[in-house]
């Protein structure tokens, strides 16, 4: 065989083989296994049931190795106090990991605020966590793809690939992201993916003594939590950003942002 002919047939063979191999690549077994159309994780928070004990925050930090003394947290509880004068006070000291033990409202640099009991029209607690958005802003803006949505709807961070630019932290309209003080990469609620993917519950939902936090499979019509989301009047946080959050709230009102 002449050299020219050899080159020719080699080129034909390589291009032919490449085409057929690329066809094979369309069926990645891992992708097929991960894509379970029967599963889409969601979350339900019943604000009426929350008493601000902060057990969920503590449980989350311990379960997910976020140092208790670090002033960042994957989940937190906010307190809302509204007065007859139309004022709204909000606080969340240390993310409420020690629970709300005083009536005084922490206004950070402005100090502690006293509100007289008789002035209060309503007061309530709102737990917050990652909304695991359908169209997550953080996933969109990550420059290296270290933040991604799993096929079953959980937004995760690859700690081995995150460059720590902070764009996702800036991009999240809910402030659920932070830099992990030990790992030094972006960090957030994983919906306890290591637990739920093995049939367990999230640490926060398990620790909640009043059932204010519940994990749901939104695709399962028989899932009791999914049923609540379907049949009751629930809301999501800040839908105006178009991120389609998948954490639903009962008893949400306008002041909660």
């Amino acid at each position: 065989m002449k050299r020219r002919e050899f080159m020719k047939s080699a080129a034909v063979f390589v291009s032919g083989a490449a085409v057929s191999v690329s066809a094979l690549e369309l069926l990645d077994p891992r992708e097929v296994l991960a894509k379970n159309p029967d599963l889409r994780w969601g979350f339900l928070v019943d604000t009426h049931k929350c008493v601000g004990c902060g057990m969920c925050v503590k449980a989350c930090k311990i379960e997910n190795d976020v140092p208790l003394e670090a002033n960042v947290t994957r989940t937190w509880v906010e307190r809302y106090v509204m007065t007859k004068q139309g004022e709204v006070f909000k606080d969340s000291p240390d993310g409420a990991q020690h629970g709300y033990t005083t009536k005084r409202i922490d206004q950070n640099h402005s100090g502690m605020k006293d509100v007289a009991d008789e002035d209060i029209t309503q007061a309530f607690f709102v737990p917050k966590l990652c909304n695991h958005c359908e169209l997550a802003a953080c996933v969109q803006v990550c420059p290296v793809g270290a933040t991604y949505s799993t096929a079953d709807g959980v937004v995760l961070v690859d700690r081995k690939w995150c460059i720590g630019c902070g764009y996702c932290i800036m991009g999240c309209p809910y402030g659920v992201r932070f830099f992990h003080p030990v790992v030094h990469t972006a960090d957030k609620c994983t919906l306890c993916y290591h637990r739920i993917s093995k049939g367990g519950n999230t640490a926060c939902a398990q620790a909640c003594p009043f059932g204010a936090r519940k994990l749901a499979n939104l695709r399962d019509p028989n899932d009791p939590v999914a049923k609540i989301i379907l049949t009751q009047r629930v809301g999501v946080l800040r839908p105006e950003y178009g991120t389609k959050p998948q954490c639903y709230y009962i008893g949400l009102n306008e002041e909660v942002r």
Binding site: A70, K90, P143, P181
Partner: protein, 436 residues
């Protein structure tokens, strides 16, 4: 006790050291993007602006800017690596910075950074190569025929490598160089604008941030970039010319690589005349771009105030109360209005143009500050404020990087690079040929 203190200090999360929260701020909210991210658009702006200035001559043939154009081109190249430095200093995992180029995730604005940056770098590098090719070849001949010292030998080696073997100096070849320069400068303008407009897009596309999110952001960034780039070129050109005059009078030839190259006959008067001519001419273009930049910035504020959507309540408090001094006194007053008047007054001297340019540079820096830090001065919930305090005395690597130390490092780097770059490509090299 000490161990415990160290442990607590270690738990200080990123941003906590320089953020003061007031009223209701979410637990994870801090000023995550601090001084280095202020410097990033600032430095990129200088790169883009310097390049646009050099292109005014190369593309549009503004003869009056001939001398400063060559300087601006080389200086823009010296600034280029420094535009990347703040990003690297800011990353929590700087060693992984290369991932942006290796595994870009194209839905992210930042992912294009590698491509845009490299494209721009290649264009500037090749333009410099074409502009200096004649000089490179002549230098090879000159150094070959000369008794060489150690430095000369090194220079000869460098010139031989970067000449890429293209030693043809025939008129046709030089004509081709000239044409290539013009084309590259032409392509370079949109790419330079893109480089910086894109930095604006990184901010403008953050929908979670009420202050940043506007389609005007890239355009505002481009205009202020050109302003700052021109201003920096005026200041540096004038300063380097003063230095050169001093060096020439003192006979300190190591400051005058072009003199060493023996291609020009410099005199002190000659230099002075050139300096005045170039700085005042360039100041004219500075005024034009200043008007454009200020118009757009004011349009942004007026539009926000007029439409007054939900976020305006907190933005108004940030703009008119918390950051009033920074925005209206430092940025618009000292950084825009004052130098504008100074440049308008008749009888412009180099010194006045320089002072005005320094003020303009300060004004643009404050604009970057007010955008980047100002955008993080309020909580996502619109119920609280965050105040940023620049760490002056560093107590660990993070407060150095994101503090005054990091600022000085970034500011001084381009001048160090320029010093060495100038040795190879004399930025003030004055050739008589009409080509470039």
């Amino acid at each position: 006790m000490v161990e415990q203190a160290a442990q607590v200090a270690q738990m200080l999360v990123h941003g906590e050291a320089w953020t003061i929260k007031d009223l209701f701020v979410l637990p994870n909210e801090y000023v995550y993007w601090s001084i280095q991210i202020v410097l990033y658009p600032y430095m990129t702006g200088l790169v883009a602006g310097a390049f646009v200035l050099s292109s005014l001559y190369h593309v549009f043939g503004v003869e009056k800017l001939k001398e400063i154009a060559r300087f601006a081109l080389v200086f823009s190249f010296a600034l280029l690596p420094v535009a990347m430095l703040p990003l690297l200093l800011h990353l929590q995992q700087p060693l992984r910075g290369i991932h942006v180029m290796m595994t870009p995730h194209f839905t992210s604005a930042i992912s294009a950074f590698g491509i845009v940056f490299m494209t721009y770098g290649v264009i500037v590098a090749s333009e410099i190569w074409f502009v200096y090719r004649k000089f490179i070849v002549e230098s090879i001949h000159r150094l070959e025929n000369k008794q060489r010292t150690g430095i000369d030998g090194l220079l000869l080696l460098i010139y031989r490598i970067i000449s890429l073997g293209a030693t043809d100096l025939s008129p046709a070849a030089l004509q081709a160089d000239h044409k290539a320069t013009k084309i590259l400068a032409g392509i370079g303008i949109p790419v330079a604008c893109f480089l910086h407009g894109y930095a604006g897009f990184i901010f403008g596309s953050v929908k979670a941030n009420a202050l940043w999110m506007t389609p005007l952001m890239p355009v505002i960034f481009i205009m202020s970039a050109v302003v700052s780039g021109i201003a920096l070129c005026i200041v540096s050109y004038a300063i380097f010319m003063w230095l050169r005059r001093w060096a020439l009078a003192q006979g300190k030839n190591f400051f005058l690589p072009d003199q060493l190259a023996g291609t020009t006959n410099l005199t002190v008067e000659n230099l002075k005349e050139m300096q005045i001519h170039e700085t005042t001419m360039t100041a004219k273009y500075l005024r034009i771009f200043m008007i454009l930049a200020i118009t757009l910035e004011l349009l942004d504020i007026i539009f926000r105030g007029y439409t007054a959507v939900k976020s305006w309540d907190i933005l108004r408090q940030v703009i008119y109360e918390h950051d009033f001094v920074k925005i209206f006194i430092l940025q618009y007053g000292i950084g825009n209005a004052l130098p504008f008047v100074m440049l308008l007054l008749p009888g412009l001297t180099t010194r006045r143009a320089c002072v005005a340019s320094v003020l303009v540079l300060f004004g643009v820096f404050m604009m970057r500050w007010n955008v980047v830090i100002g955008g993080q001065a309020f909580s996502l919930t619109f119920d609280g404020f965050m105040e940023y305090h620049l760490p002056i005395i560093p107590h660990d690597i993070e407060t150095f990087k994101e503090g005054l130390g990091g600022v000085l490092l970034v500011f001084s780097a381009p001048f160090v690079i320029f010093y060495f770059l100038n040795m190879i490509f004399p930025a003030f090299y004055n050739s008589d040929d009409k080509a470039h």
